[in-house]
Symmetry: C2
Subunit: 490 residues, 2 copies
């Protein structure tokens, strides 16, 4: 390390010290010193995205596969704005991201230059912490605190604003990593109440976050088998191990009526690291909360508590449980003929390679997946948790990079991608080509915002020409093979 | 009009009553009732963009050509977030936009459904006014107030948040347009001071906004010719009439050193509807304010005052002025040979059709334009004022629609578009194809963020592999002809 260093160099050294090994970036003028420091200091892989929503979505995918935050590097307020939608999705996935946003030099800010905007105001909408660094002396400590904030369980976006002069000035000081407290266990009363609810019968254990991990399944499976409690996954689950040998834990369905029906049998609902199930949208005359109105809903563990401790504590209340073997399910055969949702899902699941990372932004064409997935080889499914469309292709790109950085470059990434959503962040294909990533995209081109056609039907009127014009994407049809080739993807 | 109507219908009727004839949209579930109302009520042309930054950039281009606001329709916080960068550019262009953002039903909001986010917080960063409508009874008045706020001189984004239940509930009431006060004239002291500064010599009149319009040129031309004052255009000018028969009013150059040099002769600087010239970025050891430090800087008219009244009042101080004839300039010949900035600019300007709308996001390859443009046929130039890249293609699309709606579908739109910036909002090409717009895009593919290579040089170090990796776009090269074809553009 040189005896004197710039703020940018202190920032990079401190990122490395805090365990950051990947930076997803779309830098601009105010971030040039940071980029220069990345060149001088080894230890961080830098991945370019052609648009910032690709950058932030990649960081989300990276975290979901590695469990560790990557850094993002964005240019001023507009660069952050472009990446906010996938930071919103990351917030709903509880993904940890160290979000670095360059800003004007501190002396330049009062002059309201064209790019000046309220970066902190924008960042606050998606961040657990927003801090603007004030000097090269402080930026090392600021960096360590930002990484620690992002990593605090279960994970969040923490934003560090980097004024250009803090970046280029000498006097930088590196800081060591800060400890991150482990998540707390739920208290005895929470555990006792949950156990009593299971004994009362008609009980659903709703699992969020890491409560569907393989370790959690090893506890929840025997518990459910022994007690008769039902397991379901919250819509907030961002990554779920699935397929043969894993539990079949269905998600609460997306359509409100189906969700209400699926939840109707349960008088007792135990929440493990998730909120109570709520409709994706509100509809006239329909409830927002989807459990039956007389259900007893109990928080066993909050999202910031340890789901393994929660499930383990609950299982202990039922004494030593017999091991639970997941029965082998009949394998699937690839289908033939026209693409329709069930056959498509069965064919995809029949062909899935083992340990694949399946990115699901299939929307309307993906409705056959819940039934078919349990019969596929073991794999992991990542979904767009926040409802901001355009998450899929960036997630797939970041997941592939995450797998490589975690020493598993063999894991194939399969992106099941609806066309309307793909159009938002098609630039991700370019990064896939540039980094030669093992990503296969199945582009499901129904040439419409088909989900909106369904939603429009609920309005109770037949769509007229304006409405059709807002939902049909066939004038002109997007030539997806041509678009992908244009970005270097075969 | 039916005797009873929904909030959405009242909103659409009120938009029409306030003179809105175009809605750029990317709707989602929560906006379905608004879309249905557009079908039932004639008077609004609805134009779909595949990504929201295309939608907002189109509205900016529409305003610049028509002088009237269009509406935008965006889906919840993430939809707004995707469109913020071009709303930032619109803010720096003082463009009027009526920004409608759908939100969850009011009863659904407290449940923090996945798409819930701080819409008002996001909107505030780009809006002069943010209001969330509370009932179908109020939405008509809310709409009229939003349009009036957007149209208040010189123009701004005014945001109306539309909860889904306000949209679908009965009881809507239409509101008439509200009057918009005309801009005030500057006071006598401001005029007297400016006149004295001109008489003192070495005087620059810096023109912003409409102070470069044809009407303004008809006053400023004779004034400058008679008094020896120099005219320049502020970086904030969003649309400028140029070419033969129009004044040659150069913009303050973008590079800080060139700007300081260009401004160095002027001891007196009169600001007409613009801020004092400020560097696009701050640099080590360079000033933020670009006028010479001893310059007397005087605000003749603020951005919300009338530039025509300001220039007229100033001209009157010098008595009746002789008419000023703009001398004919030698015409240009199209060049041959390799594309380099000067030859490229001369060729483009030689071939420009009369009354073309030239959208300039050419960045590094466009540096020859200021010299060549005055020798082209009369045309109008629109630039990306806020520095958020990705403005060009959407601006071009919206400008073409604006020209058509203003009864001038013959005006050809020529987009001079750098490749790095085009990659941000390439989806605009699809809307151009869909609406069969007369837009020609000259895609300037240097396969790099060339401006960053220049900025990096100022850091004082040779770029290493990481830095090159962040600035070179040639691995893989984007096949722009293929991408355009993929979106239906030949």
């Amino acid at each position: 390390m040189p005896e004197t260093m710039t703020g940018a160099e202190a920032l990079v050294h401190s990122l490395v010290a805090s365990g950051i090994d990947t930076c997803f970036a779309n830098p601009g003028t105010s971030e040039m010193h940071f980029v220069a420091a990345l060149d001088r200091i080894p230890g961080i892989r830098c991945v370019l995205g052609l648009q910032e929503n690709v950058v932030t979505g990649m960081a989300d995918g990276y975290f979901r596969v590695t469990g560790r935050p990557a850094a993002t590097l964005l240019h001023c307020g507009p660069g952050l704005a472009n990446g906010l939608a996938n930071l919103h999705n990351a917030r709903r996935a509880d993904s940890a991201i160290v979000n670095i946003v360059g800003d004007h030099a501190t002396f330049h800010l009062p002059h309201d230059a064209p790019l000046t905007s309220d970066i902190a105001g924008l960042a606050r909408t998606v961040s657990s912490q927003v801090h603007s660094s004030r000097s090269p002396q402080e930026i090392g400590g600021d960096t360590a605190r930002t990484v620690a904030a992002a990593r605090r369980y279960p994970g969040s976006t923490a934003t560090l604003i980097l004024p250009a002069d803090v970046s280029w000035s000498e006097g930088g000081e590196t800081a060591a990593a800060l400890p991150v407290p482990p998540p707390a266990a739920p208290d005895a009363l929470a555990l006792r109440t949950a156990a009593e609810m299971i004994r009362a019968g008609d009980c659903l254990i709703l699992l969020g976050g890491d409560a569907v991990s393989l370790e959690a399944q090893a506890i929840a499976g025997p518990l459910a088998a022994a007690t008769g409690a039902t397991l379901m996954a919250s819509f907030t689950v961002s990554r779920q191990p699935m397929g043969q040998g894993r539990l079949d834990i269905p998600k609460v369905p997306y359509p409100v009526d189906m969700a209400i029906e699926a939840l109707a049998p349960f008088r007792q609902v135990i929440l493990v690291n998730c909120p109570p199930p709520v409709g994706f949208f509100g509809y006239p005359g329909k409830p927002s909360l989807l459990c039956r109105p007389d259900a007893r809903v109990h928080v066993l563990s909050r999202v910031e508590e340890c789901p393994l401790a929660a499930l383990r504590g609950l299982a202990e209340a039922f004494g030593p449980l017999p091991p639970h073997e997941v029965a082998e399910r009949p394998p699937l055969c690839p289908g033939t003929g026209p693409i329709e949702p069930m056959g498509f899902a069965e064919t995809v699941c029949a062909l899935l390679p083992e340990n694949a990372l399946v990115i699901d932004e299939s929307i309307t064409l993906g409705i056959g997946l819940p039934a078919a997935s349990p019969r596929a080889l073991p794999h992991e499914r990542l979904t767009v948790t926040g409802g901001a469309i355009g998450g899929g292709l960036p997630l797939a790109t970041g997941a592939a990079i995450g797998a490589a950085m975690a020493g598993r470059p063999d894991r194939r990434v399969i992106a099941l991608q609806a066309d309307g959503s793909a159009a938002y962040t098609m630039q991700a294909l370019w990064t896939q080509a540039r980094e030669t990533l093992p990503v296969t995209t199945l582009l499901l081109s129904n040439r419409s915002y088909a989900i909106l056609l369904g939603e429009y039907a609920k309005v109770g009127a037949a769509p007229g020409p304006t409405a059709f014009g807002m939902m049909e994407l066939d004038r002109p049809a997007l030539d997806w093979c041509g678009l992908a080739r244009g970005m270097g993807v075969e």
